[in-house]
Symmetry: C2
């Protein structure tokens, strides 16, 4: 956890300095940039943000900065399609090299290629396990008297 904390801290700094982005904002942009097209707010939030209002807040900032656009969703009148703008793509491209460099120099550098592979395999397994857990209500963690 200490390694992760250090890594996150350095990543945050690089993204902030070179792009004015928090890592949450970067993740949202990156998801939009790499995916096929637009996503709904709910799809976009998945795995990045843990409250609806949190995403609304972040999306508001990104839209105000001209990095994303929100529009109606064809299939569902309640939903909103979020798409990245060219400016958003440009910013991601601008920030990406530095980001990759931070991750490489801090995380990958001390690991052999096989180690990186192993780490990926293990953590993918952990992630899949956690995503498969009950969302957070049938949790078997209640005390008897609460």
């Amino acid at each position: 956890m200490e390694a992760v904390s250090l890594l996150q801290h350095h990543v945050e700094q690089q993204l902030r300095e070179e792009g004015g982005l928090s890592s949450v904002q970067f993740q949202l942009l990156a998801r939009l940039a790499h995916g096929p097209g637009a996503l709904t707010m709910t799809e976009l939030a998945d795995g990045v943000v843990y409250s609806r209002s949190g995403l609304t807040y972040q999306a508001g900032l990104l839209e105000k900065a001209g990095l994303i656009e929100r529009g109606p969703s064809p299939g569902d009148e309640r939903a909103i399609q979020v798409a990245i703008t060219q400016k958003g793509r440009d910013l991601v491209e601008h920030v990406l090299p530095g980001h990759a460099e931070v991750v490489r120099s801090m995380l990958f550098d001390p690991l052999a290629e096989a180690d990186v592979e192993t780490l990926g395999t293990l953590m993918n397994r952990v992630r899949d396990h956690m995503r498969a857990l009950p969302p957070r209500s049938a949790a078997p963690r209640r005390k008897r008297s609460e």
Copy 2:
């Protein structure tokens, strides 16, 4: 990183619900509880908090809650010794089982024993590597025109 994010989120929740603690506060208390005796503020901050004022803030909260005590430091009149109180120890003990259960069920459960070992080895290596890097000034990341 998604796995880590999910884990952190669940850990935060458990600590908050069962102990009213943030994970930073828990780390500070745990460090004091397990170590031999008192630590100075600077020693305590190491690896947990990234600004002096951040630690002063958190220590203020913990002291107000009666979980730690601050006193003068024998060797150095500038420094302050921070010690955990009995109440602090009790709280750590109270929260610990649930914390261990979260980590076990979410992180260790999907991994074999050897995997846990491997993960620890790799991440220790990464941590040591990161701690050995130049503190953050000789960083070769400045732009030519800034």
